[in-house]
């Protein structure tokens, strides 16, 4: 039976498509086969793994919180106002999406490092040193992950019906009240999706973090970095951590199913 949904697939399309599927799925199967299922708990309870897990969870959450606090207002500014240089600013905001993360890490180091133009001031005024601390981890993750949130929220703001905001204004609501009581609740699904995406990206961040924050176990060694380093000495722990990251990714995908996978795009 051949309905509208099932049609004959030409071999020149089918064969490469199957290769693509195999290429995407086989490594994951490899990971699942080698997983020390029996000792998963033991592998994860080792000191390095535990530290990496805890560090990753709180830094990703902190950078998501920071992104919400400063990223949502920036998204509003980009979507709802006009000012000179706006296009340039939007490009700059989007840049971390395409920039190799390691370059972001170098840039952060050059700005906030002890000899960087901001880092030098922080050091001489407050005695603060940022690089190679957990704060640096949060900064590196925020730098890389915040654009995901900003783009999701900006897209939602652009497609939101501004008639509701007009109505709120005629009812006596000042601009910030309008934002708080009408705009934000109406785009909350997009904010939620953007935050989940941002968190997932922060959790998996590697390049910018290792460059700007290093890899001190318990201090700045996040899960992806720990996976990379433990793969040689303690492959069981590396695989266990990888499994954790894989599970988190699957959970994120499922939670964004409606917005991201089915619809194709968020914005």
């Amino acid at each position: 039976m051949r309905g509208a949904t099932s049609r004959s697939v030409p071999a020149p399309l089918l064969a490469p498509a199957l290769v693509a599927v195999a290429f995407l799925v086989l490594p994951l199967i490899g990971l699942l086969i080698r997983a020390p299922w029996g000792q998963l708990a033991r592998a994860l309870s080792g000191p390095d793994a535990t530290h990496a897990l805890v560090l990753s969870l709180w830094t990703a959450s902190a950078s998501t919180a920071i992104s919400l606090i400063i990223g949502v207002p920036l998204a509003w500014l980009l979507a709802r106002t006009r000012f000179p240089g706006q296009r340039l600013l939007r490009s700059l905001v989007t840049l971390p999406l395409v920039l190799p993360p390691v370059v972001g890490g170098v840039a952060l180091l050059l700005a906030f490092g002890r000899t960087g133009f901001i880092g030098r001031l922080l050091d001489s005024w407050f005695g603060l040193t940022i690089p190679f601390t957990p704060v640096a981890v949060v900064m590196a993750e925020t730098f890389v992950a915040m654009p995901f949130l900003i783009l999701a929220v900006e897209g939602a703001l652009r497609s939101a019906d501004q008639g509701f905001e007009e109505a709120a204004a005629t009812l006596g609501a000042r601009p910030f009240t309008v934002f708080r009581r009408v705009t934000l609740p109406m785009i909350s699904p997009a904010v939620g999706a953007g935050a989940v995406l941002c968190w997932a990206r922060a959790l998996g961040e590697f390049g910018a973090t290792i460059t700007f924050a290093g890899s001190f176990p318990g201090q700045t060694e996040t899960m992806p970095i720990a996976v990379y380093y433990t793969l040689e000495n303690d492959p069981e722990a590396a695989i266990a951590l990888s499994i954790v990251l894989l599970v988190v990714s699957v959970v994120v995908l499922v939670s964004l199913r409606d917005r991201w996978v089915r619809g194709g795009t968020v914005s």
Binding site: G163, F164, E166, A167, A168, A169, T170, L171, G172, A173, R174, P175, T177, R181, V182, P185, M186, S188
Partner: protein, 358 residues
């Protein structure tokens, strides 16, 4: 400042938006519903937007209850949220994430009233409008008529000095519309300030409005009571709305030379110069032969273009000098074999013409 400015709404302003310009001078007095009638793109919504403060005026001023809202020359502009204006939008714009009660409490809350007081104010308005059992519903669960009333309650809950209604019934189906219209009329009668009602439904304007302003191309083309406007329409648009034939012409005593061709004999009331002649479609007689021995003073030959069946009569579109719409009974259509292309004679009595100066 005149008394109009102290009491009610006074507008003498212009708004330019691209190639469109709105330039009006009007007043709206308390306890009166001012109907704003006009075709699409006439500037009705722009005028409401300017009064509400959603659209800044390009020149002139808007004064509400003695307070200057806009004064382009002096640089005065009161922001939307500080204007005591209640706005019922055509699409209602009820906040989908808030319950009915929260929607109605929104304005008191936004204007600085405490949560409890705002809540009880909202409950008061909801029960006054017969919506008490809908308080916890979300707007998506309301019928069109209910949503319309909630939108009205929400606008009134802000205790505005002026109420603006943008085609409040246009989103309703014909069945609910009459019912909601009657209720709306009752609520509007209780409102103490001026009320401006935008509509392009003539019946709605006649039923709800105390006074009408007809807006076309951004200008006021007619102003008067609904009865005056319905009897003596000033433009083709209004004539079509109220279902009259309207002819422009030049009067000289008992004769009017029509711009569209032909001449009308009218009852001589001393008109000279530019006049309008309104004729009801049912006042025009139609015959298949040249009428003789008739008391109708105006007869002319014309050709039927089309027929439309209305509720209990047939409206015939006739081309001649001048063209006309003629109402006859379905029986007459059959007896006289009236059909498109047929040559007929039209007759109007001089006393059946409504003549007034342009």
């Amino acid at each position: 400042m005149t008394s109009d400015e102290n009491d009610g709404l006074f507008v003498s302003a212009a708004v330019s938006r691209g190639s469109f310009s709105l330039d009006v001078s009007m007043t709206a007095v308390p306890r009166q519903v001012l109907g704003l009638l006009g075709p699409n793109g006439a500037g009705k919504s722009t005028l409401l937007g300017a009064v509400a403060g959603l659209i800044p005026v390009t020149s002139g001023r808007i004064v509400l209850s003695g307070r200057v809202m806009d004064d382009a020359e002096a640089g005065t502009f009161v922001p939307v949220y500080e204007r005591p204006v209640g706005y019922v939008f055509q699409d209602y714009r009820l906040f989908p994430h808030l319950t009915v009660a929260e929607n109605v409490a929104f304005s008191p809350r936004a204007r600085g009233i405490g949560r409890q007081a705002a809540r009880s104010a909202a409950t008061g308005w909801l029960s006054r409008l017969g919506l008490a059992d809908l308080t916890e519903r979300k707007p998506a669960a309301l019928s069109g008529g209910q949503a319309q009333k909630v939108a009205l309650a929400r606008a009134l809950a802000g205790e505005p000095a002026l109420l603006l209604l943008d085609e409040p019934l246009s989103a309703l189906d014909a069945g609910t519309r009459l019912h909601v219209q009657a209720e709306l009329k009752r609520h509007l009668e209780q409102f103490s300030g001026p009320c401006i009602l935008v509509t392009h439904d003539p019946l709605e304007a006649l039923v709800l409005a105390d006074r009408l302003i007809v807006l076309e191309g951004g200008r006021i083309v007619q102003e008067g009571t609904p009865a005056q406007v319905a009897r003596q329409p000033a433009t083709d648009y209004v004539a079509k709305l109220v279902g009259l034939n309207l002819y422009a012409g030049s009067a000289a005593g008992s004769h009017v030379a029509l711009t569209a061709g032909g001449t009308f004999v009218i009852a001589d009331r001393g008109f000279h110069g530019d006049v309008l002649v309104a004729v009801r479609p049912s006042s025009i007689l139609i015959s298949t032969q040249r009428p003789e021995h008739t008391s109708g003073r105006n007869s002319w030959q014309a050709k039927i273009i089309g027929l439309t069946l209305l509720a209990d009569r047939v409206r015939i579109d006739v081309d001649g000098q001048p063209p006309a719409l003629v109402d006859v009974t379905p029986a007459a259509v059959a007896e006289l074999s009236l059909e498109p292309g047929r040559q007929v004679w039209l007759t109007v009595k001089a006393t059946d013409t409504e003549v007034y100066t342009r």
